[in-house]
């Protein structure tokens, strides 16, 4: 038996009784197994841009108003034939294998754990925002309340308690699948295998090796989008300093 539970939502609920039985596995057997490497698969075909993940994350992580660790960017795409449809890009920290935010940090506050999660040590962070500049995905920001670097943590406090990240938990369409890349039997392992050759990551040319994978992602949304922004035409909240 695998020492680490599959944390995709359906599998998690389905295997609740097994979790209890798993506690009886001898410690030695657990120690011999390779640790988890957390990742997320986003099936954009299932995303309806309801922003439940955005709000779930903001509430779970007590983010100040106007700050977001994840958000679903939403696009109206019109084809040359005149058909218009909705495209989405759920955005979050990509927990890269080669995170450009780590080497630039002048105080070593950003680090990558053995389980693949990239975190910020808030005690050490000086709020210089160098990591904000280095991130190719605009995933980082300076928290308006703390004045320090902030980003998605894959809800590390939840996964340590055996729970799913808040955005996965709240996704009504089941578009976000979270799990252990090292476990081929996990939901994310199976889904990635089934979609082999059809998954993609954001800005692969950046060489960061993201651990957030996408299925059904519109090609032109994988980087900077050459298009108009309705947001720029609307009112936006402003902050009077941190």
């Amino acid at each position: 038996m695998n020492a680490h539970p599959d944390l995709s939502r359906r599998a998690f609920l389905g295997r609740l009784p097994v979790v209890t039985a798993g506690l009886a596995v001898p410690v030695a057997a657990v120690a011999e197994t390779k640790g988890p490497h957390w990742a997320m698969l986003v099936d954009t075909r299932r995303c309806i841009a309801c922003q439940a993940c955005t709000i779930g994350c903001a509430v779970e992580n007590a983010l100040p108003e106007g700050d977001f660790r994840t958000v679903v960017a939403t696009y109206a795409v019109r084809t040359p034939e005149g058909r218009t449809g909705l495209s989405v890009l759920p955005r979050l920290c990509n927990h890269c294998e080669e995170p450009p935010c780590i080497p630039v940090c002048p105080v070593g506050a950003t680090f990558k754990r053995a389980d693949g999660v990239v975190l910020v040590d808030g005690e050490r962070c000086v709020g210089c925002a160098y990591c904000v500049q280095a991130c190719p995905y605009d995933a980082r920001f300076i928290n308006h309340k703390t004045g320090k670097a902030d980003k998605c943590t894959f809800c590390s406090h939840r996964i340590e308690a055996g729970l799913l990240p808040a955005c996965v938990e709240t996704c009504v369409g089941g578009a976000r699948v979270f799990g252990d890349l090292n476990d081929p039997e996990s939901e994310i392992g199976k889904r990635l295998k089934a979609a082999e050759g059809r998954t993609r990551v954001l800005k692969p040319e950046a060489g960061t090796q993201p651990r957030v994978f996408y299925i059904g992602l519109d090609d032109q949304l994988a980087g900077r989008v050459a298009g108009a922004s309705a947001t720029e035409m609307m009112w936006r909240p402003t902050h009077a300093g941190a």
């Binding site: 495209s87 890009l89 955005r91 002048p106 506050a109 210089c128 605009d138 720029e232 300093g241």
Partner: protein, 325 residues
């Protein structure tokens, strides 16, 4: 080709605030003004004494104000201690935490030796300050250049651009202090101003050539300059040419002010303009100046601090007195 409209967009606010522009502006001018002080004060070249003393004043005013602007960008100045408690020597910014005190300390020792006619201490102090100045110019350029996520910054021309605009700005600041001291003309300063403006124009031309030839990341960087930022870049080029024209005569004040404006605008365009470009999506970060500490009040406050240091230094030291070394 599809037409895309970002219905629900998401733009990150600039992480480096106008404080950063102030810091890069002041520290760049200070380092270059320090070099401008060497001919008269260290090498004792005839005719350079007065100009070099004014350059030293410019280096001190800007060099003492710059670190405070940098501390303000940390949101909580006391955090600077972590730079020394947990230094990451793999980061250019981590090294910068050591280069700044090296330079400012060396500059103070150099100024003390020069003004107290302490010939024995002058050369070692100049060596320390000179090393610090080179390292500060190196780290400020490199920490910006290595940011691959921002096409406008990710160019080997950026450190050169900062150095050249700082060179022009140092002549501008020294000329301003000359004008404030009542001097009507200083041909050497106007020659330096012209040289600086020519260098800036050549550098911008080289950058544009690279962008138009399709070289990465210059082409992408050029494509990201849109709307008001395009107008601002055009004004930067035009005002540089105007400074060049103004500096052809003997007048000091106007070319000096324009040169300072150019050195500041160069950093505003690179930092605030560069950060306005989204890395994902289509929504640009809105950049508006407001009456807050992180915006206009910060800029005005830094200028006020420079004025305060200028008043203190000119009250305590007679800068018109010929150098004794």
């Amino acid at each position: 080709m599809n037409t895309t409209v970002e219905v629900l967009g998401f733009a990150r606010e600039p992480g480096w605030l106008p404080w950063a522009v102030q810091y890069f502006f002041l520290i760049g001018i200070s380092t270059m003004a320090f070099f401008l002080s060497l001919p008269g004060l260290l090498w004792r070249r005839a005719g350079w004494e007065g100009l070099s003393r004014r350059a030293l004043l410019a280096a001190l005013v800007c060099g003492l104000a710059a670190p405070l602007a940098l501390l303000a960008d940390l949101h909580q100045p006391g955090r600077f201690l972590n730079f020394y408690l947990h230094t990451n020597f793999g980061s250019w910014m981590g090294w910068g935490a050591y280069f700044i005190p090296l330079y400012v300390g060396g500059l103070l020792a150099y100024a003390w030796s020069a003004l107290r006619a302490n010939r024995a201490g002058l050369t070692p102090a100049a060596l320390v300050a000179g090393s610090g100045a080179v390292l500060v110019l190196l780290y400020t350029g490199m920490e910006t250049m290595i940011v691959a996520a921002r096409p406008l910054w990710h160019s080997f021309l950026i450190p050169v651009f900062f150095a050249v605009t700082a060179f022009a700005g140092a002549f501008g600041m020294t000329a301003l202090f000359e004008a404030l001291a009542g001097r009507r003309e200083a041909p050497a300063l106007n020659r330096g101003l012209r040289l600086g403006q020519w260098a800036v124009l050549l550098l911008v031309a080289a950058w544009l050539l690279l962008a138009l030839s399709g070289a990465a990341p210059y082409r992408e960087a050029l494509a990201t300059i849109q709307g008001g930022w395009t107008a601002a870049w055009i004004w930067f080029i035009a005002s540089t040419a105007l400074t060049l024209w103004l500096a052809r005569g003997s007048s000091l004040l106007l070319p000096a002010l324009f040169a300072l404006h150019g050195a500041w605008l160069a950093r505003w365009l690179v930092f605030m303009g560069g950060q306005s470009v989204p890395k994902l999506g289509a929504t640009h970060a809105a950049q508006t100046l407001s009456l807050t500490p992180d915006s206009l009040l910060g800029i005005a406050g830094t200028a006020g601090l420079c004025l305060f240091i200028y008043i203190v230094l000119t009250s305590l030291v007679r800068w018109d007195e010929p150098a004794k070394v």
